[in-house]
Amino acid sequence: MVGKSERKRKIAVEEVIIISAVLIAGLALQFFSGPFDKRFLAYPVNLVFLGLLALVFFMKKGAALSRMASGTLSVILLAAVTIAALWMGLVPGNMVKVSWPFVLLYLMLLVNLTAITALRLKSFSAKQIPFILNHVGLLVLLFSAGPGSADKSRFFMTVMEGSTEWRGEPSGAGKDAQVVELPLAIELVNFSMEEYPPKLGVVDKTTGEAMPLGKPHFFEGTLNAESQIARWEFRVDSIVDRPRYAPAAYVLATEIETGTVNEGWVTCGNYFQHFKILDLTENLCVAMTFPEPKSYTSNVKVYTPDGQVKAAEIEVNSPMTVGNWKIYQFSYDTQKGKDSEYSVFELVYDPWVIPLYIGFIMMLFGAITLFWKGGKK
């Protein structure tokens, strides 16, 4: 698989041996000291590591640097990382991403990538820009998302409507999660929610399966909605949707062949009210699904220790940024849905978020440069 000359082949074999040795060392570490604990890399260790990587840029062009920057080394490492990811993707419940061999592979990739960019930057020209965008972008990303991410922390915070909260529960801590005081306080002014109209369908009460079997059909429970399922025609005659109560639809079901009409209220029920179905035959009935959330929004005021107050609307896909913190809409009282009296936020602290965005932008432009590289005949 290696190039023509004997020397190249020898180098590649050496590289495979070195990588294998490192991976075996990783396996030994894994065996004796258990999975890799990311917290080890937290500040200041990651900054020291960054300093060491930066030293590569000051290395003189020569045998050492070109060995570190070797292209075959890159291919072998890329292949090894891909195989590790295959393991991750195929074996249920694996711990690859926190295993020592994987961490060491990641580290070798960082060194190789740093050496290549260092070498290229020493002979910089405009022609190198696509290369720089892709490789420096990736380097910045891999560093911030790897060693950098050890500085990241996440918390959940549950805030009641009308009150202010500043204590959070670290996420991922499980049962022994201890509530901690955070440098942010959130006042929940209002929580509101929009729902899609609930759906109506014909369900077999004995099996719970929806009709037609294998290709179930549901229709929206909106006023005057019409549909046909199995041997009935349906029409929604009226809709009631009051606070606290579940949505309800008055359904007329006409059996097409006989013209027999069955009618009655159908509701999915909620924490406050029982569900109700409309029987069609001994086994089949009309039932309503729970309305699915369309959007949910928290109106908040955020207070910081230096006395700043920031008001915002937080939604899924629209977090709020306060310094190095981002506040996400995470959940609500799903039993009560629209009537939820609290909102759950996830607070993420990440001092590496700016380098991460720089890496992303560089790589996005780098990806675009592949188009004209590929556009050539």
Partner: protein, 257 residues
């Protein structure tokens, strides 16, 4: 417009594509052939637009909808590649592939209307998915070309390599864009750029395989081995796209649909 009308647009487009492709093989009909293929693309595209308007949100939610875009893009990729490189077979193969996905959609729709959940209501939704499907189409074309190149290699011919490399470069460009936009979206939605969700793991594997290919090409690895990496990478790609849902390691993925 809804999926009920799909069959008319699909059969119409396929007729345009098939007759157009037959015509480009004749010396006199090439021009008319091009027009017919283009008409097929426009007709197919108008169904997507109609479905988008009919649903009130972009049709990118279900597996059937992603197949719809795949048929659309592979026909465009095939057509543009044929116009640029004059390889007629690439148009022929693209029509076959587009046809396969059209028939899968007709026979096994998986198109039940689903409401767009809050996490999917984002400006990143449309570019993230379309760019990915477009890259799948390009890399699919590269895979087809690699099979022909493997055959030609035995006769000592290398003529297809520039085309293959171009398709892989552009395909990988779109693949990377899809991945990066997905990561930016994930940050907005869940607070993490990357969380090794099963679909992410497989997207990573796919990108890794193509990265190995382009780096090995730069280093001039032997083609008789390297060319086999493209079909292999495409298998990995298909697992990312369709297979992930069925993997035991992937239960509980946020990307299952």
């Amino acid at each position: 417009m809804s999926w009920n009308e799909f069959i008319y647009f699909a059969i119409g487009s396929l007729l345009f594509w098939i007759s157009g492709t037959i015509l480009i093989y004749t010396s006199k009909g090439a021009r008319l052939g091009n027009i017919l293929i283009l008409s097929g693309i426009v007709l197919f595209g108008s169904f997507i637009v109609g479905l988008w308007i009919g649903k009130g949100h972009p049709p990118l939610r279900t597996m059937g909808e992603t197949r719809l875009w795949y048929s659309f893009f592979i026909s465009i990729v095939g057509f543009v590649t044929y116009l640029h490189w004059k390889y007629k077979w690439i148009m022929g193969y693209s029509v076959v592939v587009a046809g396969v996905f059209v028939f899968v959609n007709l026979l096994k729709p998986e198109i039940h209307t689903t409401n767009l959940m809050p996490a999917l209501q984002s400006v990143w939704f449309v570019p993230h998915v379309t760019v990915y499907i477009l890259s799948y189409a390009l890399l699919g074309a590269a895979t087809i070309a690699s099979f022909i190149a493997i055959k030609e290699l035995k006769k000592g011919e290398y003529g297809l390599m520039p085309l293959i490399d171009n398709l892989v470069y552009i395909g990988l460009g779109f693949l990377m864009m899809g991945m990066l936009m997905g990561a930016l979206w994930a940050k907005e939605a869940w607070g993490d750029f990357w969380s090794w969700d099963p679909k992410e793991v497989w997207a990573f594997i796919t990108a890794g395989a193509y990265l190995v290919y382009i780096h090995a090409r730069i280093l001039k690895f032997r083609l008789n081995l390297l060319l086999w990496l493209l079909p292999l990478a495409f298998v990995l790609l298909m697992i990312t796209w369709i297979g992930v849902n069925y993997l035991p390691a992937a239960q509980g993925s946020i990307h299952v649909y």
